[in-house]
């Protein structure tokens, strides 16, 4: 290396270091201890009662026998298919004949368009949770703070489905996904880095979402323990870095990004959750926690096929004639990556995220993170494991 180059590099180092001396940089780090679809529950009690969100209550259990009769089975055949004494019926996968109810006994799991829209209760209320993705206050829901324009058409389409409908942390979908995460199946981290002096008010902030190979630890009361240490696990796909600002502890992204993350949804898309125009709206709380929303537009067709991959057992456990979800998402899809006139292949949605303080280290564990940056390059040589499915129902066999 020649001397000129050495001097240049040294100068660059000094230049790079100088702003750090002029500002009081700060970093806060968290581990996500709960994540679920952002669904507002509009009833005062229970998890299925009628409410302002769903005036008729939760979408009721379909009449399975009638559904099969409509598909062309005789009443006797339909009742035998549903009879627990039928040896073809399995606790794990249900009765495979339930799938063959499309036109000419086509599988509705493979071809939902072969089956007429059976309909599903949709959200009728005005209150919703999430992020204003398009900046338009004239569409979408109004959030609990009275802010308008909250885009969450996924909630409008499927928010009355039992999988999602309940107060926070009580829906079957949320519990089914979060329990394995909290038992150590996967870990997600959030790192917030600011350049100003006041972490509660900072106009130059970056927020990183990372994966970790370290497992969360529960205390005896079942809560995730705070202030444990987690190392960032570089991942070539699952990472998101937002430019943001903080006002009175509220962190909002300043520009949308495109990102991938492990799909934390029930019936997860195994290839990962693609989010277009992702944005965040979080709050740093006095107790040290970080709560808020990660919103954006996700492709809706893979969501259906993710659920369909679980077969009939998914339908009977969650009370849905599954093609209803196909048509509902198609009906409410509100985004095309190719432009306003393109096919609406994506639907707005939001995840409700609860995170608690944690120590986060750089991948080799040599130090705590002191900034937010991409680690994708460091993962390029690694083979990324496929996301484990967040089972909506159990699929493993027993002995």
């Amino acid at each position: 290396m020649n001397s000129t180059l050495m001097k240049t590099l040294a100068l660059m180092a000094v230049t790079a270091a100088t702003p750090q001396l002029a500002h009081a940089e700060w970093t806060k780090s968290y581990v996500i201890e709960w994540i679920e679809q952002a669904s507002y529950y509009g009833a005062p009690t229970g998890i299925i009662d009628p409410g302002t969100d769903c005036p008729k209550g939760t979408n009721p259990e379909p009449n399975w026998v009638q559904m099969l009769i409509n598909a062309g089975y005789t009443k006797e055949q339909a009742e035998w298919i549903r009879n627990p004494a039928n040896p073809e019926r399995s606790a794990v996968s249900g009765n495979p004949k339930m799938a063959m109810r499309g036109k000419n006994f086509t599988s509705v799991y493979k071809d939902p368009d072969s089956y007429p829209d059976p309909g599903i209760y949709e959200v009728e209320g005005r209150i919703g949770e999430g992020v204003n993705l398009d900046g338009n206050a004239k569409n979408g829901f109004t959030n609990l703070k009275g802010e308008k324009g909250i885009d969450n058409e996924f909630y409008r389409a499927l928010g009355c489905w039992k999988t999602f409908r309940a107060p926070p942390r009580l829906s079957s979908g949320a519990q089914t996904v979060n329990d394995p995460m909290r038992e150590g199946a996967w870990t997600m981290l959030v790192v917030v880095h600011g350049m100003g002096k006041d972490p509660m008010n900072d106009n130059k902030v970056t927020v990183g979402f990372y994966t970790s190979g370290d497992k969360m630890v529960k205390s005896g009361d079942g809560k995730i323990v705070e202030d444990f240490t987690f190392g960032i696990q570089p991942n070539a796909r699952y990472e998101g870095i937002f430019q943001a600002k903080i006002k009175n502890g509220r962190i909002t992204s300043t520009q949308p990004i495109e990102m991938m993350m492990r799909d934390p949804s029930p019936g997860a898309v195994r290839t990962g959750l693609e989010i277009q125009r992702a944005q965040i709206d979080f709050t740093m709380n006095a107790d040290g926690s970080l709560k808020g929303y990660l919103g954006g537009y996700r492709p809706w067709a893979p969501v259906y096929f993710g659920w369909a991959s679980f077969g009939q057992v998914n339908e009977v456990l969650t009370w849905i004639d599954l093609p209803a979800s196909w048509y509902a998402m198609k009906r409410h899809a509100d985004y095309s990556p190719t432009g306003p006139r393109g096919e609406k292949t994506h639907i707005s949605f939001a995840l409700r995220v609860d995170a608690i303080p944690a120590f986060v280290t750089v991948p080799d564990g040599s130090s705590l993170v002191s900034d937010v940056r991409s680690y994708k390059q460091e993962a390029s040589a690694q083979v990324q494991p496929a996301a484990a499915p967040a089972n909506m129902i159990s699929r493993s066999a027993t002995n």
């Binding site: 998890i47 627990p84 004494a85 150590g184 456990l317 969650t318 493993s396």
Partner: protein
């Protein structure tokens, strides 16, 4: 006047030209004045051990529990799903709040719970355990000297067993009352109270043949490498168990006061999984098993009422239990899943009936149950989400006076292995610690031990 005989005395003679050894029946002469122990050594009557498994836990929701007693310690309150245990309340301990700690291993649904309880290790994947189930250690410790080292029973019509030595293959259970009867009291059964008992010449022949094989085994083992030695050892282990079984049948069995040979079940019940059928199977099999222990056929058993993903149902209902646990919403007013709780109560009725059968047989100054340790447990806590926290566990039986029953112990997040270790120590197994990783423990629950 002192007797020239002790319980260890053996009568030697010839039968059919072959030398035989005949043990002496267990006479009152050999017991102490209380009928609780042997007179010569003071050793207590044998304690039997069994596991009892049922699938899908009990009803435990985020807003309330239908099984966890409110009161801790002695004199706990009977909760709705434990009502069937009322007749034996003073002979059981209820354990709540114990959990599986996976050390980062994922929850293999309907598997991690009981695999951890039995092996002490959170399994890497469903269908396998990462160590032997501890019942096999107990069988090795106390199961010798009986015709069957252990008996496996599956009451749901399917051959389900969680007893394993390798973690990969599992014992083959008897899936129906008829199959269990034929195993216990069919060909080969030696009535310990029969005055006309004599050794079967064919068994003598087999015993002789197997003894010859044993000699050859020793010679063969000297000539092969280590890997082959392991293979041979595995093979001959089963052979030795057969030898032991045959040898026992060459000795007059100890007289068993409570032993009554049950009648053979007439009809094979339908292999339906409805809960009334399973419970009827379970009760019939419990009676057979109880008599097998009273007749000294075995000291160890593993009983599966329903598997982890229980498919049982109420006759006439189109939904199975597994489905109810997942799809039934919690009732807003009552705070629990109504049908799930109803099925849980029916499933627990079978456990109540099982223990009542054991408690009905008089033995010494107490009952068979007083000389037993039964560890009853399930695979999940809150089944809707396959939780492995707050898995219901129960220790039943007096353990020959070692178990201080009638208590509710709250575990406060301690590992399930503490209960497993307690059961092992109550039955007298030589084990000081159990489990691995965060579930490794050397702390039994002393509150229930005298």
């Amino acid at each position: 006047m002192s007797s020239p005989f002790s319980r260890r005395s053996i009568l030697r003679g010839m039968v059919g030209g072959a030398a035989v050894s005949v043990g002496i029946p267990m006479l009152d002469l050999f017991l102490d004045g209380n009928g609780q122990a042997y007179a010569d050594t003071g050793a207590r009557l044998p304690v039997r051990f069994g596991t009892y498994f049922w699938g899908l836990g009990l009803t435990d929701t985020p807003t309330g529990s239908r099984w966890v007693p409110k009161n801790k310690g002695p004199g706990f309150d009977i909760t709705p799903e434990l009502i069937s245990l009322t007749p034996v309340k003073d002979k059981i301990s209820i354990f709540s709040g114990y959990r599986v700690i996976g050390d980062g291993r994922p929850n293999a649904v309907h598997w991690s719970g009981h695999a951890s309880i039995l092996s002490g290790i959170a399994p890497l994947r469903a269908g396998q355990m990462d160590g032997p189930s501890f019942d096999t250690n107990i069988a090795d410790a106390i199961g010798v000297g009986t015709r069957f080292k252990s008996i496996e029973v599956s009451a749901n019509g399917k051959p389900v067993s969680y007893s394993t030595r390798s973690g990969r293959s599992f014992a083959t259970p008897e899936p129906t009352p008829l199959a269990l009867y034929q195993r216990l009291f069919g060909p080969g059964f030696q009535d310990p109270n029969s005055p006309s008992w004599q050794p079967d010449p064919s068994i003598l022949l087999n015993q002789s043949v197997l003894s010859g094989v044993t000699e050859q085994r020793r010679a063969l083992l000297k000539q092969v490498g280590k890997v082959d030695q392991m293979k041979l050892d595995q093979y001959f282990t089963s052979l030795r168990e057969m030898e032991n079984q045959l040898a026992i049948q060459l000795q007059r069995p100890a007289k068993a006061e409570a032993c009554l040979i049950p009648t053979q079940p007439k009809n094979e019940p339908p292999k339906s999984a409805s809960v009334d059928v399973i419970n009827a199977n379970s009760k019939a099999m419990a009676r057979l098993l109880a008599m097998a222990m009273a007749c000294n056929q075995t000291k160890v058993f593993n009983f599966v009422h329903t598997p982890g993903q229980s498919e049982t149902y109420i006759a006439g209902d189109s939904k199975i239990y597994h489905q109810y646990t997942h799809d039934e919403p919690t009732d807003a007013k009552l705070g629990y899943q109504i049908n799930t709780s109803k099925l849980a109560g029916l499933v627990m009725q079978a456990l109540g009936d099982f223990l009542t059968e054991m408690n009905a047989i008089k033995e010494g100054d107490g009952t068979l149950l007083d000389n037993m340790v039964v560890l009853a447990f399930s695979d999940t806590g809150y089944a809707k989400i396959h939780s492995v926290e707050n898995i219901p566990m129960i220790i039943a039986g007096g353990a020959g006076g070692k178990h201080k029953g009638g208590q509710h112990i709250a575990g406060n997040g301690d590992p399930v292995t503490r209960v497993s270790l307690t059961a092992q120590q109550l039955v007298g197994a030589p084990v000081g610690e159990f489990g691995s990783g965060a579930m490794k423990t050397a702390r039994p629950i002393t509150e229930v031990m005298t």
